[in-house]
């Protein structure tokens, strides 16, 4: 069949394209240009136009003998992902731009383009599995738990999932994928993995955020969440996320006790800190929920991931048609803005974006509570 493959220029999506081409599909490669590479890397601003990754994707497509197109999505990406990234920080939350990108630029737009081009599927190099279930396609964790990206795909709609293919989902390891790249003769077999957030190549994301939302760079108070005392000042709320212990200066400890970010009050530009034990919450609320199963009518026993790099923990999910309330079996640290993703074993059931705890709801508690 005719398949559009989203090719980033990295090893993973290159192998995805190569495998599908080898299977005899009519593969069309597409690479998204998401930002001005010259400006992002501080090189020549407005340089037309392609970064190394786009060059690499084109070389891979040449090696595979497939047509390849570069899609200019700078404006779309800026509005849907980069500005949302800055706005989320400005609200005192921690954004998760890969999910926003998947939700908008990648799956919504590329599925549309693929259909316009008469394709029957869209394939990506994500590490996740799409499994045919009794009620249609299901999203499952990748075979390689170290590489699993299902967390970032929770917002894929069921309709999009039906159209998508993840050829790398069954691979046992990244080494196996690199071996495939070498076997297929792809010029990116040895290319290092990409790091961090693609549009912040040097990791100074707060500089970008401060440029877009200058108020996030304004200093403010660091306040003890339980005692109300001002412990110090910070250099802007965008530098903090719930659970963080670094960047607090003298406020990082009180006597023998280390303090961590327990909350961010964007309105008053305050960073709230507390001892580690006071951070975990038993109840987490998520919004913008997407279900990849029938939305549960009754409380649903499942496991939940509150951040990308942690194992799913048991929880009970309550769905009222608008908000998702999670009761964690063991209290966990939840950073507003990040995703809460629900699993049933290997299967992704759905998820949402973690909301800030409501005032008057559950305050940070002592671990002994």
């Amino acid at each position: 069949m005719r398949i559009l493959v989203a090719m980033s220029g990295g090893v993973d999506s290159s192998v995805a394209a190569g495998l599908l081409a080898e299977q005899g599909h009519e593969v069309i490669g597409a690479t998204l240009q998401l930002y001005d590479h010259g400006a992002a890397t501080g090189a020549r601003k407005g340089a037309c136009c392609a970064g190394q990754d786009i060059h690499d994707a084109r070389r891979v497509a040449d090696a595979l003998g497939i047509p390849h197109y570069v899609l200019d999505r700078e404006e779309r990406f800026r509005r849907a992902v980069i500005e949302d990234f800055a706005d989320t920080y400005a609200r005192g939350e921690t954004p998760i731009p890969c999910v926003r990108c998947n939700q908008t630029v990648k799956f919504r737009d590329l599925v549309g383009l693929a259909r316009d081009l008469g394709c029957e599927a869209l394939a990506t190099g994500h590490y996740a599995r799409r499994v045919e279930g009794p009620d249609g396609p299901e999203l499952h964790r990748a075979a390689d738990p170290a590489r699993d990206q299902s967390y970032f795909l929770f917002a894929t709609t069921r309709e999009q999932l039906a159209f998508c293919r993840f050829p790398l989902g069954e691979f046992a390891s990244k080494a196996a994928v690199r071996a495939e790249a070498a076997r297929l003769g792809l010029p990116v077999a040895e290319k290092p993995d990409s790091q961090d957030i693609c549009f912040v190549p040097r990791g100074n994301y707060h500089e970008l955020v401060e440029r877009l939302r200058p108020e996030t760079g304004a200093p403010g108070e660091i306040v003890h969440a339980l005692e109300g005392r001002v412990l110090g000042t910070h250099r802007g709320i965008a530098r903090y996320t719930v659970g963080q212990g670094r960047g607090l200066g003298a406020a990082a400890r009180q006597g023998e006790e280390r303090l961590f970010v327990a909350g961010i009050d964007a309105g008053r530009r305050r960073i709230l800190v507390a001892p580690r034990g006071a951070l975990p919450r038993r109840e987490v609320v998520a919004g913008e929920v997407n279900w990849l199963c029938a939305p549960p009518a009754a409380p649903l026993a499942c496991t939940v991931k509150l951040r990308a790099r942690e194992a799913p923990q048991p929880a009970l999910a309550h769905w009222d048609g608008a908000a998702l309330r999670l009761m964690l079996e063991t209290p966990g640290i939840a950073a507003p803005g990040q995703a809460a993703v629900l699993y049933d074993g290997e299967r992704v059931l759905g998820g949402g974006f973690i909301r800030a705890a409501q005032a008057g709801a559950e305050a940070p508690r002592r671990a002994v509570a």
Binding site: I28, Y69, D116
Partner: protein, 381 residues
């Protein structure tokens, strides 16, 4: 090694404004030049033979486009010819640049004068707004200007009223640089007849090899070189001349005659009639103005140009949208934005018939374009 794309479809090449297919005469001339061992700057017989070929090409190009041989500076292409004009003639002058000029002109103008470059607007039909130009030129106490207007636009094929613009420039002591890259070989182009001061040409847009272009200068103008090098081209462009590309350019220019190109107009008209018959909602951009005989800018409302270009490519039909960017991405067209098309500026493709186009390629285009439109309509329904 790249294996090349599996071609399930016959190739229908309709992107002449990106590059024309090589003309056989140009190919022969280039190959003959490859076999000349000499450097045109060498004193010995081999050098003289190479020099002879170079100067013959220069005379041919000069005669063909209304210049004197001494006023022909060979360059690496149209972009360099435009840059040499802007840098060599524009220093110290006010730069007035047409809104729909090619990026090679805009980039050079910005490099010379930064944000001080003034835009000469176009009307909604795509032609330069002469009243606005006259007003800009008449600004009192302003330094003399260099006006840049293209003979024909690369995306729409719209021809600018250059004779009138040249008269205005003369009256105000301004220089006129004409980017004739798209017009040369397709409509009559003559530096002398236009009354322009300089004129840029590109070899491969005439059906020659890529790698050579020329800047034609009226007598008396002597721009400083961008590349001083060894003093070639009368000190106006250093570097050993690429003889095969230059010989190919001259041979292509001799073949690319507007009388022959006129036959393309009938094919273009057939193509546009077919488009209108298939899709009443489609528009031909710039159709109200005089245009090149080979260029159609076809707007299909609601469909991104990118989708159209890719869908057609997948069926073997090669067209483009906007000016080709080195990354290959399809960007919204500043040319069409300047014509006031707004968001629709991202919904038009350029179909440009090559010198060797025949009726079959027009029919193949119409079949592919019609099928694409049908599929998109079914999708949208």
């Amino acid at each position: 090694m790249p294996r090349g794309e599996a071609g399930a479809h016959a190739e229908t090449y309709l992107d002449a404004n990106a590059t024309e297919p090589l003309r056989p005469a140009a190919r022969e001339a280039a190959i003959a030049a490859f076999d000349l061992p000499g450097n045109p700057s060498s004193v010995h017989a081999a050098g003289r033979a190479a020099r002879r070929l170079l100067e013959t090409a220069r005379e041919q190009v000069a005669a063909r486009f209304g210049a004197r041989p001494a006023g022909v500076v060979f360059t690496a292409g149209g972009t360099e010819a435009n840059a040499l004009a802007l840098h060599g003639l524009g220093a110290g002058r006010r730069l007035l640049v047409g809104a729909t000029e090619h990026p090679s002109v805009w980039a050079a103008a910005r490099a010379v004068a930064g944000e001080a470059v003034v835009t000469v607007p176009v009307r909604s039909d795509g032609q330069a707004d002469l009243e606005a130009l006259a007003a800009l030129l008449a600004r009192p106490a302003a330094p003399p200007a260099l006006v840049c207007l293209m003979a024909a636009n690369n995306e729409t094929g719209v021809l600018h009223p250059l004779a009138e613009a040249a008269a205005l420039c003369r009256a105000h002591g301004a220089l006129l640089h004409v980017d004739a890259v798209q017009a040369a070989g397709r409509v009559p182009v003559s530096l002398a007849a236009l009354g322009a001061d300089s004129l840029a040409l590109s070899g491969h847009k005439l059906g020659g090899p890529k790698g050579a272009g020329a800047l034609l200068l009226r007598p008396g103008l002597d721009p400083a070189p961008l590349v001083p090098g060894g003093g070639q081209e009368r000190g106006r462009r250093g570097g050993t001349e690429p003889l095969p590309a230059i010989a190919g350019l001259a041979a292509a220019a001799a073949e690319a005659l507007p009388e022959r190109a006129a036959a393309l107009a009938a094919l273009r008209d057939r193509l546009e009639e077919g488009v209108r018959a298939l899709a009443p909602e489609a528009r031909i951009v710039g159709a109200a103005a005089p245009r090149l005989p080979n260029t159609s800018c076809i707007l299909l409302p609601g469909v991104p140009a990118e989708t159209q270009v890719i869908a057609l490519d997948l069926t073997g039909v090669r067209v483009s949208a906007g000016a080709a960017c080195s990354s290959g991405k399809v960007a919204r067209s500043p040319v069409l934005e300047a014509m006031g098309l707004g968001a629709a500026a991202g919904e038009a493709i350029r179909v440009s018939l090559p010198w060797n186009a025949g009726g079959a390629s027009v029919e193949r285009f119409l079949a592919a374009w019609g099928a694409m439109r049908e599929r998109l309509r079914r999708r949208a329904a």
